[in-house]
């Protein structure tokens, strides 16, 4: 068996749920071991082709190595062990936590000493930008991280798609608004999580934007991976 076949073993380990760090290290160690076995067989006077073949046999069948790795639950990625929590719950909770942190930082920056009396234009624009980031950017960012994670761990498409829709829905349910103080009115910062009939259309659009873009990136990366592994 040629040396290059170790590449397919990495892919098989990843698809079996082994964490990338373990799959790559395992194969790197197997390659070193294989090289030592080839040297040993050559030293016994075997021709190179036979030495390689014998070394591969002594190393063991790929199926056995993958099977043995799967028996070690500690080597499996979190996504393979707990797909619902990792793909479904964690990204949505992470998104909500990031939103909460952003709002808290804004509240501290602008309202700790009472509402700003006459905010400069850059403060207004910067705050609006952060608001857009929270409503559109953060859901896309978390969707992107989920896609990257699930592709690198070769997780099943059902978990990835479920996670993407949960991130999209959580992102769409967040709301954020700032009322700047004016003559006779006090400034206010409001942020929350919820759904109203009035916001139904914009909520649907935001959910669709995240879901469609996330899915498009997911299928593109998955397609590229399939071509890379079969090609």
């Amino acid at each position: 068996m040629p040396d290059s076949d170790f590449g397919s073993l990495v892919e098989r380990l990843l698809r079996a749920g082994i964490a990338p760090v373990h799959a790559r290290r395992l194969v790197a160690e197997l390659e070193t071991h294989y090289a030592s076995l080839v040297e040993e067989e050559l030293a016994r006077g075997e021709p190179l082709a036979t030495a390689r073949s014998m070394a591969r046999i002594r190393l063991g069948a790929d199926d056995d190595i993958v099977g043995k790795a799967c028996e070690q639950s500690a080597l499996r990625s979190w996504g393979a062990r707990w797909p619902l929590s990792v793909c479904g719950v964690a990204p949505a909770l992470g998104l909500l936590a990031t939103c909460a942190l952003l709002v808290a930082a804004l509240a501290i920056a602008f309202f700790a000493k009472g509402p700003p009396s006459a905010p400069a234009p850059w403060v207004r624009n910067g705050t609006m930008l952060l608001g857009w980031l929270m409503l559109y950017g953060l859901p896309l960012m978390w969707a992107g991280m989920l896609v990257r994670y699930s592709i690198s761990r070769r997780l099943g498409w059902r978990w990835s798609v479920t996670g993407l829709f949960l991130v999209a829905a959580s992102g769409a349910l967040t709301n954020f608004s700032v009322t700047w103080p004016g003559p006779g009115t006090r400034g206010a910062l409001s942020a929350g999580l919820g759904w109203t009939m009035q916001s139904g259309v914009s909520l649907g659009i935001r959910c669709l934007v995240t879901a469609v873009l996330g899915l498009a990136v997911y299928w593109l990366m998955r397609d590229r991976l399939e071509r890379h592994t079969t090609g």
């Binding site: 395992l26 790197a28 197997l30 070193t32 071991h33 046999i57 190393l59 056995d64 080597l75």
Partner: protein
């Protein structure tokens, strides 16, 4: 080629690995050789199967590893931790009890 002893990977492997790595640190190829020498080649196994076991034991905190480059080749050396030594003592004790029980059941006759 001799048939493989598939039971090697079913628990005895952990005992042998911990026993050998408790003496001194070794890398995979060296360890495979040591297992064969220790068992007088009576146990045949796919040498590649050692690595998932080593990684698993390391994840359980029973082994620790360090990287080293020797003659331009990267090697990962393993040795037991304090938990590994405790685990080895437990496994040795269990093995002795099981072995004594089986010997007793066989009435001291040789069935080899």
């Amino acid at each position: 080629m001799r048939p493989r002893t598939t039971s090697f990977t079913a628990g005895v492997s952990e005992l042998l690995i911990l026993r050998l790595l408790n003496e001194r640190e070794m890398y995979g190829y060296e360890l495979a050789k040591a297992v064969q020498a220790l068992t007088r080649r009576r146990i045949q196994f796919g040498e590649g199967l050692l690595y998932p076991l080593l990684h698993g034991l390391e994840q359980q905190g029973l082994l620790r590893s360090r990287r080293a480059t020797v003659s331009g080749r990267a090697r990962i050396y393993y040795r037991t931790t304090a938990s590994g030594r405790r685990r080895l003592a437990t496994l040795v004790e269990r093995w002795r009890q099981a072995s004594a029980a089986v010997n007793s059941a066989l009435g001291g006759k040789s069935y080899a």
